[in-house]
Structures are given as C-alpha cells and as structure tokens.
Amino acid sequence: MTDQAYNFAYLDEATKRMIRRALLKGIAVPGYQVPFASREMPMPYGWGTGGVQVTAACLTPEDTLKVIDQGADDTTNAVSIRKFFERTGGVKTTTHTAEASLIQTRHRIPEEPLRADQILVYQVPIPEPLRFLEPRESETRKMHSLEEYGLMHVKLYEDIARHGEISTAYAYPVKVEGRYVMDPSPIPKFDNPKLGGSPAIQLFGAGREQRIYALPPFTQVVSLDFEDHPFMASKADHDCDLCGCSTSYLDEVITDDRGGRMFVCSDTDFCEARRAQGHRGRLSPEEAV
C-alpha cells in the first residue's frame, strides 16, 4: 500500500530527473564520478542515502526490489530500506537474487550471477579512490582528468612494503575501460572479478559526498596490481559451515566466548537456496528424519 503523502519512491520527479541525468552521464563515461545534488533523506548518512536516491530514481512500480547489507537480507539496514520502498513506492520486494529486478547493496555482490534485466545499486561511503594519499579534492579531480594514477600504486606499494603482500582486502581500486580509476565501494576484493563483464547495469551512489558513477553492462574492469604481486581475489580458506559451499565469500561468526567460531556464506539468500537443495555443512543441524 503506497503511502499517499509521498510521491512514488519518496523523491519528487524533478529530483529523480536530476539523478537520472547524472546516472546517464555516469553510464556514458564509465568510472567517472559525476557530481549530483544529493538530497536529505530520512535516514542518516552512512546508511545508504546515496544508494537509496539512485534506487528511487531507477525504480518503477513493476520492479521487484532486493536489499542486502554485507550479503544479508535480514539486517537492520537492509530491512529498513526494503520497508522504505514498500511504503513509499508500493513495490514488490524479495530476498531472492534471481527474482529481483533491482538490487541495492552495501558491501557485496550477490554470489548468483546477475542478468541483463537487473540493476545493481551500490551504497558508497567514500567514492574517491585517491583520497587515501591526496586530501585535496581539486588535486584529485585534476589527477583523474589527466590520468595521473601513480599514487594509486603507491598505496599498493605501501601495503606490500608493510605486510609483504597487498593487504587491501576491500574497496580494492580498479581501472575502468583503461581510463578511470574507481573505488568499487567497500566490497571485498573477492567480488572484484564480478565487476567486469557483468550483463547487469551497476550504479554507485555516494550521498554525503554527492557523487554518482556507473559501470554499463560488459565493462572492462581491471583490479590494479604489480607484475610480481598480481591481484588475487581471496576469501577465508574454509567451506561454509551451513551449506558446505567452498567457493562463496564467507563471514566468520563467533559462536561463544570459548573461542568457538563458524564460517558461513555472507550471501544469506545463496546459502539458504543451497540448503534447500540439500547441501550440508560441518555444523548443519542433524536432519530430523
């Protein structure tokens, strides 16, 4: 039931048009950060205000929305954003990746491969990958426009010098179509290979920083690295303790205060689907036959 006090999906149509223009420009120049006039949203910064505005601008009444937070459909952030659009847009929602036409995500890409009829919207806290070493916005913009990206490798160099390997495990910088260096939002680097060549449209929104950027379908995305320290998409060296999957990205969960722990798929929908198909892990409850 749509709450009649609000326009469809909360934002007024003029604002959506402004955001869509930014999105189109982002699609046209993959990886380029397009400034946009971010609106105040009824949620705090850091809770996905950028992603929510992009979602609102893309959503149609026919869409089915899925929202995940670190891969999970059932955390506060995911639940509240889902409820927000149920109430302001009256759209259908789902937790199943395959059923969704638009997925808003915080810090993960679903395990299940995306399709051409899907849009993935990322919540982005800090869109500027060069910010780590160059605090001046005027300078980082210039560096992007002149393709001066040596600094990005200085960050990776520092990682190796300090830790013996590239220790950056999330928000791992990528180069898009050989041109713009982009922060893929704090997804684990395990997800980086899924950024490139995806049939789905990928949109990135940073509310506080007022930036939108995008990857159109089948974009070339390369994770930065050194010849002698190549990029590796790593994950915890375990199988999921619930569904037994050996290839999915895992969360480590502390189960008691005596050192007990378990590894479970971070993508809850993926894990549930596997369990429904009969897959079992080390700590799966005994079947009540």
């Binding site: 070493l133 210039k142 002149l146 001066e148 040596g150 600094l151 490798h153 200085v154 160099y157 520092e158 190796i160 010098a161 300090r162 690295d225 050194f226 010849e227 002698d228 320290h229």
Partner: protein, 256 residues
C-alpha cells in the same frame, strides 16, 4: 656533459609576473645550457622565488616565453606541463615536507615518480629505491620508515632522491640547504655537486646564501626588486661585482 652543445635546454625571454600593480619579476631573459648550474641570488622579496615558480610552471607568467627543448611551457597544456614535471623536471623545495609525502614510507616516496610513469614491478621499484637511498647516503634499512622519523638533512636528501629517480634533465631548487645545520649543509652540497656532475643535470638554484651559490653555481643572476640587475660567471659576479646592489650584497657577507 663534456659536449658544449649548440641548443639551450631552457630559453627564457621577457618573462614578467605581476601581483596587481606590484612587480613579481620583470623582463627576465636568459638561456640555460645542458649541464649548467644557474644560481639566482638576491634578498627576500627580490623576485627569485616568483621567477622560479614561473619557470617551473607553478605560476603563470603575465608576459614572456619559456622554451624547454624548444617547446613553450607557458602555452602548452597543463597535462603536458605536469608530465614534464614528473619526468624531465624536478623540483626540490626548501622545506622537505613540501616535497615529500610524510605519511608514505621512504621507499614509497622514491618509487612514486617511477609508478607515475608506469613502473609496475614491485621488486624493480624497490630495487631502484634502495639504489637511490644509497646514492643520497640513507641506509637501505630505513626504506620502510616514514620521513617524519628522519632528521632534517635526511628528509632533504630523501626529497632529492625522490626527485632524481626518473633521471630528470632540469632541476629547480629553492633554497635546498636553507634551514639545515652548517655541517649538514656541507654534506648536502657535496652530494648535489656529485649528482649534478654525474647525471649531467641542468639546475636553476634559488638561494640567498652566496657561499652556497659559489660552491654550486656555474653562473649567477642577481635579482633586485623583480629585475635581473647583473649576471655572469659565478666567481666574476662575486669577485668583481659591477652593479651597486651586487657590490653591497657581496660586501655585506662576512666571507664567501
């Protein structure tokens, strides 16, 4: 560098920069030849730093031409100028903090220019960094330390290594020994002389210290109120100064 060469590396003609009605520098012209060290001396406010900034592309001059290898650096695009700035040119700041990334290790500081021009082999970058730290007399085991853990003299040497690692041809130096202890200055001067000779560098050196100018510069330009009032061989300008101001400047120094 033994070769005299027939083309100037830098040709400056009629360079002027104004701050409103105030003169920054005015009508400066000179040629700089490969392997030559040109000292620019004068007191604070004489326009030396303004001139250096205009030459290095940090300030846009109001009039005049600066040709580097025949290319006009005033009218070239900013992108081209910045490429020059990290390949053929180097800039050594008086304050090492202005020329270093204080949050990045010594190795990262030296490696940055290499990575900026496309070096992508970690081992090779680190090898060059170790080599250059050695050349500026910093122990290889300090490679992963950050510059803030270094003394002032070491920071300055690190800045020099960071600048020279890509083998530039023209180095701008703004009071490179300013703010250092006398003994540290001497060591740095010796190091700079050796590097200038071995790499065949052309240098534009701004200093108010005539002793530094005497030891490093082949040639001097004396500036007063934004204008070049005298220029010539370093020892000729210092031993037989012609302009009234230069005579005053030289006679005011205890001993050069």
């Amino acid at each position: 560098m033994k070769d005299l060469g027939n083309t100037a590396l830098l040709q400056v003609a009629g360079l002027s920069k104004y701050y409103g009605t105030r003169i920054g520098c005015e009508a400066v012209s000179f040629d700089l030849w490969p392997g030559e060290v040109l000292g620019i001396v004068g007191e604070s406010g004489s326009g030396k730093s303004t001139l250096l900034s205009c030459l290095a592309g940090h300030l846009t001059p109001d009039q005049g031409r600066v040709l580097y290898n025949g290319r006009d650096t005033v009218t070239m695009s900013e992108a081209e100028r910045r490429v020059l700035g990290r390949t053929d040119w180097a800039f050594v700041h008086q304050n090492a903090r202005d020329g270093l990334r204080m949050g990045v290790s010594a190795g990262g500081n030296v490696g940055e220019r290499l990575m900026a021009v496309g070096a992508r082999n970690y081992g090779a970058i680190r090898g060059s960094a170790i080599d250059w730290l050695g050349r500026v007399e910093i122990d290889a085991d300090r490679i992963d330390d950050r510059p803030r853990q270094f003394s002032g003299g070491m920071q300055q040497r690190l800045q020099i290594a960071r600048n020279l690692v890509t083998g530039p041809r023209l180095v701008f130096m703004d009071e490179p020994t300013g703010g250092l202890d006398v003994s540290v200055q001497a060591r740095l001067l010796d190091l700079l002389r050796g590097l200038v000779r071995d790499m065949g560098l052309s240098v534009i050196l701004v200093t108010h210290d005539l002793a530094v100018a005497r030891l490093l510069a082949d040639r001097l330009m004396v500036m007063q109120a934004g204008r070049v009032i005298e220029q010539g061989l370093t020892d000729q300008v210092l031993d037989d100064p012609q302009a009234p101001y230069t005579q005053l400047l030289v006679s005011s120094v205890l001993q050069v």
